[in-house]
Amino acid sequence: MDFLPDPFPLLSAFLQWLAVIVVIFSSVLLITFTSNLVSNGARGAALYGQSLGQSLVEIFSTSVSRCYALAKLTFTEAIRRKALFVFVVFAVLFMFAGWFLSDPDQSAKYAKDAVKIHVTFILNVLTWLTMIVMLLLACIGIPEDIRLRSIHTVVTKPARRFEIVLSRILGYVGVGTVLLGIMSATSLVWIYRQVPVSARSELTARQPIWGQLSFLDRMGNETTAGINVGDIWDYRSYIEGATKSRAIWRFENVTPAMLTTMTDEDGKTYEALRLESRIEAFRSHKGNMDRTTRFQYIILNPERNLEVTAATLEIGDEFSGRTDGIRRTLIAETKDNESKTVDLINDLVAKDGSLTIAVACTDPGQYLGMARSDLFIRLPDAPFAVTFFKAILGIWLFMVLTVTLGVTASTFVKGPFAIMTIFTFLTVSITGREFIRKLLSDEWKGGGAFESAYRIPTYMNDTTDLPSNPGTQLIKWVDWIMNGFLWLIQQILPNVSYFNMTGYVANGFDVDNWNTLLPAVLVTIGYFIPCVLIGYYCLRSRELEAK
């Protein structure tokens, strides 16, 4: 689910980044050194060393004031290039968006869906508008300066080329920040106005505590997953009703601070652990249609051999979820059929601070489907604006990445080519990264491009082995080389999925700081550093007289 991220492997990601940087820069240094040797002979080595030394001096003597002045110039130039026209497009989109979005359902229950639709629309609009405008600006800036020869007025001053590249990026980022800031603030107001009043409670930022999920089969044995009831989407695993089958969540570090004060039907307050669930039912027979399928929360403490049925409930509104409070004081049945009072925190939380909650289906012949994200401890919510602006920060970081790539590309190719290059690069990153991963990980059968081209006209399905002959060996060999090339591309493409935080906001969750926001920041920095250096070296070696 796009609001439950995988843990971000910080160390391995950093090491991989370092390896790619070292390989790229070593290759570049080696090639340029060799070409210097070839063209200048033995003197080339000395010239190369001198040039490298000058570069390092330029980089390390970067002046903040010069950068500020150049960035300000870039900012002014972008405004003069009518960057603010984006507001016209933005205004038009907002004025007519209501026409194109589905009418919110009149029923209060389904009106909540309007939140998803409107939030998704807004964040997509902001992402694409910002990306396109900033890409155009970033890619044409330097090439236009070179074409009009106005760059001479800059390079003849004591401004260094490293500062030019850096300031261009900062200037455009400044423009993008202003644009995005105004548009996002307007968007937030627009969302509040457009979402039906009955659905405004969904404009929130849930603070979930996720657990680890495991399953027991119908005999009560541990198993890796539940039953597949034939869904194409194998996200959820199902447990069978009225058997020993269970879905078991283990929550770490449960403390009394996680308890919330809740109110029961009689208006009395009580201390409870607030759980939110989205459990899906699959009926193998009609059963009792007057109600939805029933399930139980069972709290387990194997250390003390305690098993407490905390509540028997109906799944209710399965796709919107339900919130329940597990009272701090519970009644446990002992093996001697005696009742005793137990405390949720003191008696049921294990010594290591973990709390184990099992979900069982009580209706015979019916099945309940669950995934890890379908049950969590819900702490008090944060305001919607918090998660919204975190998502905006994601868009901002994506804009920084776009500008960085655009300015870098514009230092070695002309404007239109730079636009096409970076647009393709980003589009492939957005749409093709997963495709390449599946292709390289053998998740998709049928081999590479040439093997597929052989299989299709010969009507050979993807599970049949290729006949062994020199021709098929050649096909496999060519595919192997092409896959190697794809692997290289995969290492260079940014993982832009970190920038897209729409799933969190649309579903009413707070954006995960450590597993989504931090990776987005690191990816941006990870591209910023090498891109600025590449841009600098390209501009340094570029003949500015050439138009």
């Binding site: 194109f100 009149q106 209060a108 869906d113 639709i117 989407w233 039912a281 009609k286 939805t292 796709f319």
Partner: protein, 451 residues
């Protein structure tokens, strides 16, 4: 190339552009004004009814979207279809609905899209939900979605027929029919509809089959001007009358007996035999002569000009009667509209209720009387016995009920009883009928517990 050559070439291009503009303007001159006659394209558009306003209600949103996309509509639609499929598979219903609305805005006159998406909502999405109320909501979504298509494609008969199918077939015959039929008159969203029906689907609070009938009638009206692409024409046009049969049968199933049900069967019979039965069809087997379902031997002889034509016409009438199950429904309605048959149904149903409430003596008397009446009617209409039908299931249910009552009373069933012929000849169907009866009794006992 000098500057003057370049300028001359550009002027020549401009000249050609202006030259081409003249016929385009003349051909494309809009109609409707009184001062200038319409251009050829405009006249042809009116003649062949190809204009947006000729096809149906104009949707400015759709027109704006198509215009903004220029030539990229195909790409956009493909992407949206792919997204919709993804949302459906990942059970993201809100986005799926929103995406299907966007597709429709791009392809407002692509009939298959309306049919596919409404089916998807009413049948596939609704089945994904656990609560019957939620399922009903999505059935309504499918029906409402289709209503937009009917407005936008005002001449198309297929969509009106599909609407009839969702309201008649889905609401009336699905597993949840007992709830859906009730919800159709009293929507479960009491907050919004105050206990009444959803006015967009059922403004007057009618039975679902009667509303479906209105849609089938609309479909038939449209079909006179535009060819339908769903069923054989005879079958397609039989649906308004068929809805009456479904309505009458549903009343019986709901436990509504007496004059209302008898009248419903009578209406169904008259609609079937005097309207649909008298409708003239020109079928490919005998294209030169009009054929109707109610044609007698005399009619056939009178209509046909040659012996060969008479033979082909006789065969066509027989074949198409079989296609529409015409003779069965005629016979069934004739039988059901008789008071004795209505009594038989009522007595058997009341016996079931009495049994579930443990009033065994009363139940026994009722079921025995019902079986007797049932047997008498089947004797009067023996043709019904040759059809594999629900009516026979009712007869089997009566015998089963009788056996249950006797078993509980500690009595032994006699060897000679009414409906024995049916019981003996339909042994293969008994397990299914028994399962249905047991489920009904279980639900009945739950209702009693609730009370």
């Amino acid at each position: 190339m000098n500057q003057s050559e370049s300028r001359n070439r550009k002027l020549a291009y401009l000249g050609f552009i202006v030259l081409l503009l003249v016929p385009i303007v003349l051909l494309g001159m809009p109609g409707g004004g009184s001062s200038t006659p319409p251009g050829l394209l405009s006249s042809m558009r009116s003649k062949f009814e190809l204009g947006e306003s000729d096809i149906g209600k104009i949707d400015p949103t759709s027109a704006a979207m198509n215009m903004v996309l220029l030539g990229f509509r195909g790409i956009a639609v493909n992407t949206l279809w792919s997204n919709m499929d993804h949302y459906k598979n990942t059970k993201n219903w809100a986005q799926m609905k929103s995406t299907s609305d966007a597709i429709i805005r791009l392809q407002p006159h692509f009939i298959s899209v309306w049919r596919f998406t409404s089916w998807n909502l009413a049948f596939n999405v609704s089945a994904e939900w656990d609560s019957v109320k939620d399922r009903f909501h999505w059935v309504k979504e499918g029906a409402k979605f289709l209503q937009n298509g009917i407005d936008i494609n005002a001449k198309n008969p297929d969509l009106a027929w599909e609407e009839g199918r969702i309201i008649g077939f889905k609401i009336g015959m699905s597993d949840e029919a007992r709830y859906f039929r009730k919800f159709f008159k009293n929507d479960p969203d009491t907050e919004l509809y105050k206990g009444g029906p959803d006015p967009k689907l059922n403004e007057q609070g009618l039975d679902n089959y009667l509303v479906a009938r209105d849609w089938y009638l609309k479909a038939n009206d449209r079909e006179l001007n535009q060819r339908q692409r769903i069923l054989d024409r005879t079958l397609f046009r039989s649906y308004p009358a068929r809805s009456y049969f479904d309505y009458a049968a549903a009343l019986q199933k709901d436990g509504v007996f007496g004059e209302q049900t008898r009248v419903a069967w009578d209406d169904a019979y008259r609609d079937w035999t005097t309207k649909f039965g008298r409708e003239v069809f020109y079928v490919p087997e005998v294209p030169e002569v009009g054929m109707s379902m109610e044609m007698t031997e005399d009619d056939i002889s009178r209509q046909a000009k040659t012996g060969d034509e008479e033979r082909r016409l006789r065969k066509a009438v027989d074949d198409y009667q079989k296609i529409c199950n015409y003779r069965y429904w005629r016979e069934r309605a004739r039988c059901e509209r008789e008071p004795q048959m209505a009594d038989a149904h009522r007595e058997i149903y009341e016996a079931q209720v009495a049994y579930s409430e443990q009033r065994l003596t009363e139940a026994k008397a009722l079921v025995e009387s019902g079986m007797k009446n049932f047997a008498a009617m089947l004797k009067k209409y023996p043709d019904l016995l040759q059809y594999d039908d629900l009516l026979l299931e009712d007869a089997l249910t009566a015998v089963l009920m009788w056996q249950y009552i006797l078993k509980l009373s500690g009595e032994t069933p006699s060897d000679d009883y009414p409906l024995k012929v049916i019981w003996d000849s339909q042994q293969g169907r008994i397990p299914d009928v028994q399962a249905r009866l047991d489920r009904w009794l279980l639900e009945q006992s739950r209702n009693i517990d609730k009370k």
